[in-house]
């Protein structure tokens, strides 16, 4: 069996005496789409951030492609990993094109490599080419996050880390962008770790779901296995929630 691309090995992290991560171990194989699911405070975002060293663990080790991520300085590591998060964080003083080109420029790409790459990425996220000269303030929320994804993909990373990327968007856009991103994941052969508290989203997009609670991993399995029978009652209840809600909606519609 091939070594996992990302290995989180007995990682712990505490903040002011409170344990945010409690001996967490996870393995993510190359090419997989893994969802970290749980409520606020479960440690899922903290776990995600140990992969690109936005957070450094107190104990344990995180390895990328066999090498400890601590061996490389944070900024350099992050230039090889795509990071998309709920707040998007497009640079308001830069155009869409300049936003997308940030990491390539940090890596020293030649200008004549960058321009076609920007055009390629706008196509990839299904936005018109004339958006390149616009400023983020002129874009809708969904469009901004598409640029956020484009920016994260610009330097051709192997790994994409996403922290509730579509959480601030309306349900229709959320589904649209989720599906579009899964298609990109497959097309580009990415390895994606996505944090979400939306169980439906995790079930529909991910190859594996990791359920976390109180800084611990409660379950780590395929969506199907978790849906059909989870040992832990909390996990079972969590996984049942999308269907419960769908049933309630269906009942409401049947009554009318």
């Amino acid at each position: 069996m091939a070594a996992p691309l990302i290995a989180i090995d007995k990682v712990s992290k505490s903040y002011g005496g409170a344990l945010a991560l409690n001996d967490v171990s996870l393995e993510i194989a190359a090419g997989r789409f893994v969802a970290l699911v749980g409520t606020s405070g479960s440690g899922k975002t903290t776990t995600l951030k140990t992969i690109n060293r936005l957070i450094d663990p107190d104990m344990g080790e995180v390895r990328l492609d066999g090498r400890p991520v601590g061996d490389e300085p944070g900024p350099q590591l992050r230039r090889g990993i795509g990071y998309v998060f709920q707040g998007v964080g497009l640079f308001p003083h830069l155009t869409v094109a300049e936003n997308i080109a940030v990491t390539p420029r940090l890596l020293g790409w030649a200008e004549d490599e960058i321009a076609p790459r920007i055009a390629e990425l706008l196509d990839l996220v299904a936005l018109p080419q004339d958006y390149a000269a616009r400023f983020p303030s002129a874009l809708s929320g969904g469009e901004r996050q598409r640029i956020g994804v484009a920016r994260a993909l610009a330097a051709r990373p192997r790994v994409m880390l996403m922290d509730e990327p579509f959480g601030a968007l309306d349900p229709v856009t959320r589904i649209e962008l989720g599906d579009a991103y899964r298609a990109l994941h497959d097309k580009l052969g990415l390895t994606t770790v996505m944090v979400t508290h939306d169980v439906s989203e995790a079930v529909l997009l991910a190859d594996r779901i990791v359920v976390m609670k109180g800084g611990r991993v409660l379950a780590d399995d395929t969506p199907r296995n978790l849906l059909t029978g989870a040992a832990d009652p909390y996990v079972a209840a969590l996984m049942a929630s999308p269907k419960q809600q769908a049933d309630r909606v269906a009942a409401l519609m049947a009554r009318q």
Binding site: N52, L54, G74, P75, Q76, L77, R78, R79, G80, Y83, F85, G87, V88, G89, L90, F91, P92, H93, V102, T103, L106, L107, G148, R151, A152
Partner: protein, 274 residues
């Protein structure tokens, strides 16, 4: 008689104005050089923030003239130390104390606005800067500084106007400035001189404020031409005003400077600085 006074005032203008602009711009530039790095440090480090801003505020509460006068004994004391250690003395009157006092005076608006501007940057943008792989230094120059710049410029404007105004108080510590008109006019009951000095200082302050305002607006609107126009006008204007004054030597109008020295000797009999 009024004509003669006006003409006399006008003749003295290049020298006084040159010295005033030289002093104000030196103090403002020095204030920027100290306050900008200090505001970055204070923005990054919450424990540093309060002491730094508190000390700057405290300095602001000292009346301008008192602050300028304070440097006379301070520099005398320091001069004794440097003389004992290295054998050289510091001038306690003239350009140096004026420069130091005015620099301190200019620090607060720049510090406050610097910290406010930096802390006002959207945290999501900062997280993104880290996420795309910028080092802290790259983050500061490429993201934080451009986004905080309009707020910082507003502080620079305030500092500039205050410094230009306070620089008129440098006359009693032996530094030529537009204040020479005012002090001389008060002593000799020459009201044309007093008004001339007030008007000249006010017009200078307004001109600096407007040009810096142009730069501020350009930064806020991301309009490079405005920024370039404002900055170029300031630099060229200052250079044109200062140049003749430097060519003629630092002390400007001798007669009025001597008058200032007389005043000081009357207040501090037995002191030899001058």
């Amino acid at each position: 008689m009024s004509d003669g006074q006006f003409a006399a005032a006008w003749r003295l203008l290049p020298g006084y104005l040159g010295q005033h602009v030289l002093l104000s711009s030196a103090a403002l530039l020095l204030g920027l050089a100290i306050s900008l790095p200090l505001s970055v440090a204070a923005a990054r480090n919450p424990r540093l923030r309060w002491p730094v801003l508190a000390i700057a505020s405290l300095i602001q509460t000292i009346p301008g003239l008192a602050l300028l006068a304070l440097f006379f004994p301070l520099l005398l004391a320091l001069s004794m130390v440097t003389h004992a250690l290295f054998g050289w003395t510091l001038p306690a009157l003239g350009f140096l104390p004026s420069l130091l006092a005015l620099t301190l005076y200019s620090m607060l608006p720049i510090l406050r606005n610097g910290v406010t501007g930096l802390l006002g940057v959207d945290p999501a943008v900062l997280e993104a800067a880290d996420g795309v792989g910028m080092t802290p230094s790259q983050r500061l120059w490429k993201v934080e500084a451009p986004l905080a710049a309009p707020v910082v410029m507003a502080g620079v404007r305030t500092a500039a106007v205050w410094t230009i105004g306070a620089a008129t108080l440098s006359t009693p510590v032996g530094q030529t400035s537009l204040g020479d008109y005012i002090f001389a006019g008060l002593q000799t009951e020459n009201w044309v001189f007093v008004l001339f000095g007030c008007a000249a200082a006010a017009i200078l302050a307004m001109a600096a404020d407007q040009l810096l305002g142009l730069v501020e607006k350009g930064l806020a609107m991301r309009d490079r031409r405005r920024v370039a126009l404002g900055a170029a006008s300031l630099v060229i204007g200052a250079a044109l005003i200062i140049a003749p004054s430097l060519a003629g030597g630092m002390t400007g109008s001798g007669a009025l400077c001597d008058r200032g020295q007389e005043l000081l000797r009357a207040v501090h009999p037995g002191r030899d600085d001058g």
